[in-house]
């Protein structure tokens, strides 16, 4: 494929050296190779699209570029000269600025103060700030990017799009020649997106280069001058939009041969209906969700990060209030706080184990019985010894590596902590297990143990709804899957349609 899509040199590539070039960048974290020998060239005045799945290395590359991460290996060239980027100050000196998804503005200062924060022009009296000059300079900058607003407006009264404009103005004021934008249209309306695109065109004309991370196919083709595809921390290819189709891009993003196998004994026919979600809408950004889960099934819930997967899980569990729709569990409607869901037999194994799943300073035993107190002690009287026996049983059953039930749970490894979270719902006798990224931060061996456990659970008549960004896992383990996009269910994939390509195709924005 790489020969077929060999890039023809762009006009500016013949004459110009790259504004910035990265060669052979590698970055490793304990257990993960985030970037593996990635090279990347950015030419003056181009919009360079960075494409890849969740965890492909886009964010890591961006952080290396802006000096937030120090690369383990590799070289940087600025206008053909070798440079080093080991800190954000280095990157700033080279004119690199990042517009993050979460803005770094100070909410209670005005626009002008934010733009010149830390670089305020000094007033005549020592220690004071020349307020008039700040406002005038800010106004000039805002005019330059075509943003018609009073610079003395307080930032927290602005909308997302306007805050983004302020971020861009701030970057320009620091003489940024390279702007890195991480999904800048994610939170914008169509009208605001148009304004942003107009601004990008103007910046390009001024010779500013833009690295643009996007999940929306339409943008990639309408805005991009070139596309770099990353996968598993490696650069897969660099192409021009005119030379590829969306399908080819999707294949580049996912096309890996997988030799992992997870234990799964698929049932011949699914059991009775356990969970039925009808038209569920919540204020957390999901709308009209329709999902069914039967006993004996593992149902995947996929989509990009931020597509509303976790919000669906939380809404079913009662952790987020719903505004309309219906949840029918085990034949009867259910609504209310998580304690209601838990009592009815729904379990949530949350994504952030440490902050939402466990009381880290308490013991393994305390954490294992916390959801089962009512079931184990119907009289309301707690018997520590009986609780200890239950905990010991779970520790043996789940093979949790801990010296005893009295060990502080925060001292266990990620995989064992995850087993404790699952264990507490086993003790509670849950029927539906909702897993949110169950294998995040867990090593390979523990992963297959967790999957074996989930398989056993559903074989015994429970059901599982599994959110995962690891599409390989979804494809191997799930009976079928729903794919989410922008807070809605974009499609359903039966077992025989369950491929990474199909998941990515449904999860991307084609409009």
């Amino acid at each position: 494929m790489s020969t077929a899509l060999q890039m023809a040199p762009a006009p500016n590539e013949v004459t110009a050296t790259p504004l910035l070039e990265l060669r052979g960048i590698s970055k490793e974290f304990p257990g993960v190779k985030a970037l593996d020998d990635v090279s990347f060239a950015l030419y003056p005045g181009e919009v360079h699209m960075l494409l890849g799945e969740n965890g492909a290395g886009k964010s890591s590359l961006m952080k290396v570029l802006c000096g937030a991460y120090k690369a383990d290996a590799g070289e940087f060239f600025h206008k053909g000269e070798k440079v080093t980027i080991t800190s954000t100050a280095d990157a700033q000196k080279l004119g690199i600025a990042v517009i993050f998804q979460e803005f770094s503005l100070v909410p209670y200062l005005d626009i002008a103060q934010n733009i010149f924060l830390g670089r305020e022009p000094k007033g005549r009296i020592p220690g004071t700030i020349d307020r008039r000059k700040i406002l005038a300079d800010a106004k000039r900058l805002l005019d330059m990017i075509g943003f018609d607003i009073d610079p003395s407006v307080i930032v927290n009264t602005l909308g997302v799009a306007q805050q983004q404009m302020v971020e861009i103005a701030k970057a320009i004021s620091q003489n940024a020649r390279i702007l890195v934008m991480d999904e800048p249209t994610a939170a914008l309306s169509d009208r605001e997106t148009e304004l942003l695109f107009a601004l990008i065109a103007r910046l390009k004309a001024d010779g500013v280069s833009i690295v643009y991370i996007s999940h929306r196919m339409a943008e990639v083709f309408s805005l991009g001058d070139r596309i770099t595809v990353l996968r598993d921390g490696r650069r897969i290819d660099g192409v021009r939009p005119a030379d590829v189709t969306p399908d080819q891009l999707v294949r580049m993003m996912v096309g890996r041969t997988v030799d992992m196998t997870y234990p799964r004994n698929f049932a011949d026919k699914p059991g009775e209906l356990l969970l039925q979600v009808k038209g569920l809408t919540s204020s957390s950004g999901i709308s009209d969700i329709n999902i069914e889960v039967r006993r004996g099934e593992i149902v995947g819930l996929c989509g990009l990060v931020g597509s509303g997967r976790s919000e669906v899980a939380r809404a079913i569990f009662g952790a987020d209030p719903t505004t309309s729709g219906e949840i029918i569990f085990d034949g009867k409607p259910i609504s209310g706080e998580p304690d209601v869901a838990a009592r009815r037999g729904i379990a949530l194994i949350p994504e952030s184990r440490k902050s939402e799943g466990l009381a880290l300073l308490r013991s393994v035993g305390d954490n294992l019985v916390v959801s089962a107190l009512r079931k184990l002690f119907p009289s309301g009287l707690f018997d520590p010894r009986s609780g200890q026996r239950t905990a010991d049983g779970l520790i043996r059953q789940l093979r949790i590596a801990t010296p005893s039930a009295r060990q502080t749970v925060g001292l266990l490894s990620g995989g064992n902590q995850q087993k404790v979270v699952i264990g507490k719902w086993l003790a509670a006798g849950a029927k539906l297990f909702i897993f949110d990224e169950p294998t995040r931060g867990i090593d390979v061996g523990a992963k297959s143990e967790i999957f074996a456990l989930i398989d056993r659970l559903v074989a015994e008549g429970a059901a599982a709804l599994m959110i995962s960004s690891e599409q390989v896992e979804i494809c191997h383990v799930c009976d079928r899957a729903y794919v989410m996009r922008e807070g809605r269910v974009a499609g359903h994939l039966a077992r025989n349609e369950l491929t990474e390509e199909n998941i990515v195709r449904l999860g991307m924005h084609h409009a």
Partner: protein
Amino acid sequence: MTDITKDALSPPRSFLSQDAIQLFYRLLAVFLICAALAMLNDSFLSLGNILNVLRQASLTFFIASGLTLVVLTAGLDLSVGANVALSACVAGTVIHTTGSPTLGILTGLACGGIVGLLNGVMVTALRIPSFIATYGMLWVLNGLTYWYMAGETLHGFPAGFRQIGSGYLFGLPIPVYLLLVFLGIGTLFAQRTIWGQEIYAIGANPVAARLSGIPVARRLLLVYAVSGTMAGLASIIFLSRLNSAEADIGESLTLPAIAAVLIGGTSLFGGVGTVFGTFIGALILTLVLNGMNLLSVSANWQPLVTGIIVILAVWLDMKTRRRT
């Protein structure tokens, strides 16, 4: 079984649990203080003085025991003293007008409990931080009490009622029996009921507790109601012991109660501590103040010494408690 960390498999650091170690230190402190005072002053070990210490400690303990539950959930109840004052004045009025001590006691308990419940509603339904909600409640209660009493003093209660605070049974002051009863109930509630377990879980991580299916709001309501009811109980003992009620009797009660909780080893961050620890805390506080009285140290020094003990106790806790 690839997923084993070295740390998780290292043997436990000690045969005793952290709680047991900290309790041991506290009992040792009580012993050392007693030994020192006995050597310095002959009258310290007299029966009369020891009973006096226990009676004093019991008054602090009643307020502090309910407060302990609040602090276990990582909250704080600053309104307990003001609650005692209002409850005492209301209960006193009921006894005066109806002549029935029983009715007065029930009203006092109910008044305290309702105030606590209101605190709980502010913390759960309105999501106001407990520190601020109960601080506001402190002023509201003070305002109500001062308006209601209008500078008057209630005094002169039936002899039977006065027995609660100043009477003896088999040679022991009645408040000491009450102390033992509520120490037992409090300990059983915290350690041996599922509600108690859930309270510890909420204090350790409220988000995880909610996502583990614990009805967090209902448990918090309970905890603040209990704290208020215990303030109501304390108000009855005060009323009976002092044989009078004024608007300002609660002003010197809240801070010593918080001191007893902290000296007793309950963490302001929640999830760690025991009701028994709070009893020891109240005992240490009372012993030191009693000792200073016996040694004729000016009462003006007492706040300073209390402050130093609180800081020392918390600092020693932090040093002995291993952070993970």
